[in-house]
Point group: C2
């Protein structure tokens, strides 16, 4: 860092003269290492899960960490998040959105590091999903503990963000296979929101929105009467978003 002679815009006296050398200005600014962390959610056995890796810092020995990396010099923030996702899961076409920047001066034991947290949603059963590193594991979001850095707080923020978002937008479908039954969809909402919903009213609500495509196919290998399978009509949703109603809580 080279901030000895940095003059912040806030303290700079306005002389009427404009700053001509903006490169010199920026070089005088103190700099901070930036990382991007991905909170990758999946849904398995009726539980919301998050993908974590064992920390490779001695300081956090045995603790779990989010999947992150250093931001490259000429890389977009989102680009970095996609890069992490691709390398860790083998998947490229996944839902990804920025949630929040975390920048407490003491959040990293090695000095100040600011991280931008991204939330990602994917289908754990997807055929493209390939997790090579055996230090990677899916963890139930319900009982997280023993996490490195401020990563527990980051997961909590992303989880709350997700709870709000799935009620307002059709994000939840990213966590399911392309074809799903209404029961699977309901289980997902119940698990994420932590509530019990009435089957019949849940069904009625989704049908009234008219975004589900009836595939005229049925579940297989279920130990009960198979339910119909549906697809979400993302195209129709984009055209007429207003018909999306908030889900009960």
């Amino acid at each position: 860092m080279n901030n000895a002679d940095a003059v912040s815009p806030l303290l700079r006296k306005r002389t009427g003269e404009l700053i001509s050398d903006s490169k010199a200005l920026v070089s005088s600014y103190p700099a901070v290492p930036i990382t991007v962390d991905c909170v990758i959610f999946g849904f398995e056995e009726n539980e919301l899960k998050v993908l974590l890796i064992r920390s490779d810092l001695q300081f956090f020995e045995g603790k779990w960490s989010l999947l992150g990396d250093i931001l490259k010099e000429t890389e977009e923030l989102k680009e970095a998040a996609y890069r992490i996702l691709l390398q860790r899961t083998g998947m490229s076409d996944v839902f990804l959105e920025q949630v929040k920047a975390f920048g407490s001066p003491d959040r990293h034991p090695g000095g100040r590091v600011i991280t931008i947290a991204y939330c990602s949603l994917l289908n754990i059963q997807h055929h493209e999903l390939k997790i090579y590193d055996n230090e990677l594991h899916w963890h139930k979001v319900k009982n997280l503990c023993n996490m490195a850095f401020d990563h527990q707080a980051i997961v909590v923020e992303c989880y709350q963000w997700l709870q709000k978002r799935i009620q307002e937008h059709p994000l939840a479908f990213n966590l399911l296979p392309e074809k799903f039954s209404l029961r699977e969809l309901q289980n997902l909402y119940e698990a994420i929101l932590g509530v019990e919903l009435d089957r019949r009213n849940f069904r009625k609500k989704f049908f009234s929105m008219d975004f589900l495509i009836d595939l005229d196919q049925y579940e297989e290998n279920v130990p009960h009467r198979p339910g119909k399978l549906y697809k979400f009509n993302f195209g129709k949703y984009e055209i007429n978003k207003k018909k999306w109603f908030a889900i009960d809580f």
Copy 2:
């Protein structure tokens, strides 16, 4: 920047050995200058406004810029935002929330600078509000143009964030005086959301939430029948948030 020998967590080979010197690790990371930018909204003459300053970079001569500053070495992100607010407006007890990080590599002509955008809401008529710098001006959000950096995009994101938020939480009151009439409140919602609402139903909705305190005082110096003045009961809201209903759109 000292990233010649930086090894990203993603590429680091997992040998089973843990990293003991986390300070050396962080020092090897490339670093980026960080700024915090405040999108300060106010409400005046039935219009949403944003506080801007003339850019002091020759590159952006004549263009308008958000109020921002360099992040200090041991400063919390939010702390920096409060510092900017205090120095620019003289106010310390204002609504402030992080909205998004903006980090395109080319958003600053002097080299890469990442900024964390905060949204702030204040009452333009507040007696504590003191704007010293005569390069500072309130601008209508409706017709912004000629802005420096990516600041126009940042304002747009914050505006959209605000539109969503005022429907779900009682943020709007931060833009009004402590005592306000129902008409002022409705004008505020109509201006921010860009819709027309029915007076009688708007009133009914707010009264049914039961968060407004009837002050038994009336408007003064208005050219028509004075309306009753109310205060928002933040305490009651904190206890029973569930009674907040979404406002119409």
